[in-house]
Symmetry: C2
Subunit: 167 residues, 2 copies
């Protein structure tokens, strides 16, 4: 199964395309959709939607996983984040993909082993778990972690709590 994992935000949206073959999970592509500070809010929504639509056409993922409600400072930030998320999820929905949501604590727990892990630990762990040559930048690492969580939840839900940190 091929998955599109997303960590959307107005300025920097992390994405990852993951695929499992047998028991092995591999990262086909990952990165960050960047919008410059000068770009208007609607301009950012356009770019997020356009680039995710392009990713879907290029890699044909069958499912989509996204981070659930995250804590933000205020309602304005929540509305802006919601708009970025809406634009990203719309692209997935327009391709008929089912969308799964994972709370940030669950993602950290699945990848690092506890729900209060630091961002740097997430990057370190996804490199190890997915056999990447280097630690991905933070937003891409978050998307990869969401993808990892999705496969954990769907293939062996009880195993999630057993993911250990490397020695």
């Amino acid at each position: 199964m091929r998955l599109l994992a997303l960590d959307p935000a107005l300025r920097n949206s992390g994405y990852a395309i993951l695929q499992n073959e047998g028991s092995k999970l591999g990262a086909i592509a990952y990165g960050v959709i960047r919008n410059k500070a000068q770009l208007s809010m609607p301009g950012c929504l356009l770019e997020i939607h356009r680039q995710i639509d392009e990713l879907i056409r290029l890699h044909s993922p069958e499912e989509c996983a996204v981070e659930g409600l995250i804590y933000v400072q205020n309602l304005r930030t929540a509305m802006t984040l919601g708009a970025a998320r809406g634009s990203a999820l719309l692209a997935a929905a327009q391709h008929g993909m089912p969308i799964y949501e994972y709370p940030p604590r669950r993602v950290k727990q699945a990848v690092v082993g506890h729900g209060t892990a630091q961002k740097s630990q997430v990057g370190f762990m996804v490199r190890s778990l997915l056999g990447l040559t280097e630690i991905p930048e933070a937003d891409a690492a978050d998307a990869l972690a969401i993808g990892w969580t999705h496969f954990q939840m769907h293939s062996s839900p009880v195993a999630v709590h057993r993911v250990n940190r490397p020695i």
Copy 2:
């Protein structure tokens, strides 16, 4: 000039198409995009985007006006409202329309004369201001009020505070 005014929300999104001819402002179309309670969040985003895209193709508005940040109870509601808004604004942005935002207080002030007006007063006033045969339902009335505000701000900004309630 022809305007698309929007009051987006996940379940009930108000819309209005307004046009000014000389000093007269008329409502060409208005209503509510409804999503049933059973429809998933991505399903709602699809419907909002699809129906607004259809409205734009049908009526060819040149500009878009939308309500600014509104007060909501919590972050989850703000994120959901933001997603609905993102989906609606994306449709306008995809047609290259400039988007204007008006805070709820300014809309009420422009239409009713004070920023703390009740919903029923907004409906009563837009009927009167736009010469409608009946009071529109609340979400459509909000969209019409946003549209009215846009034309007030762009044609005679200082006059906004002088809009009086009918006798």
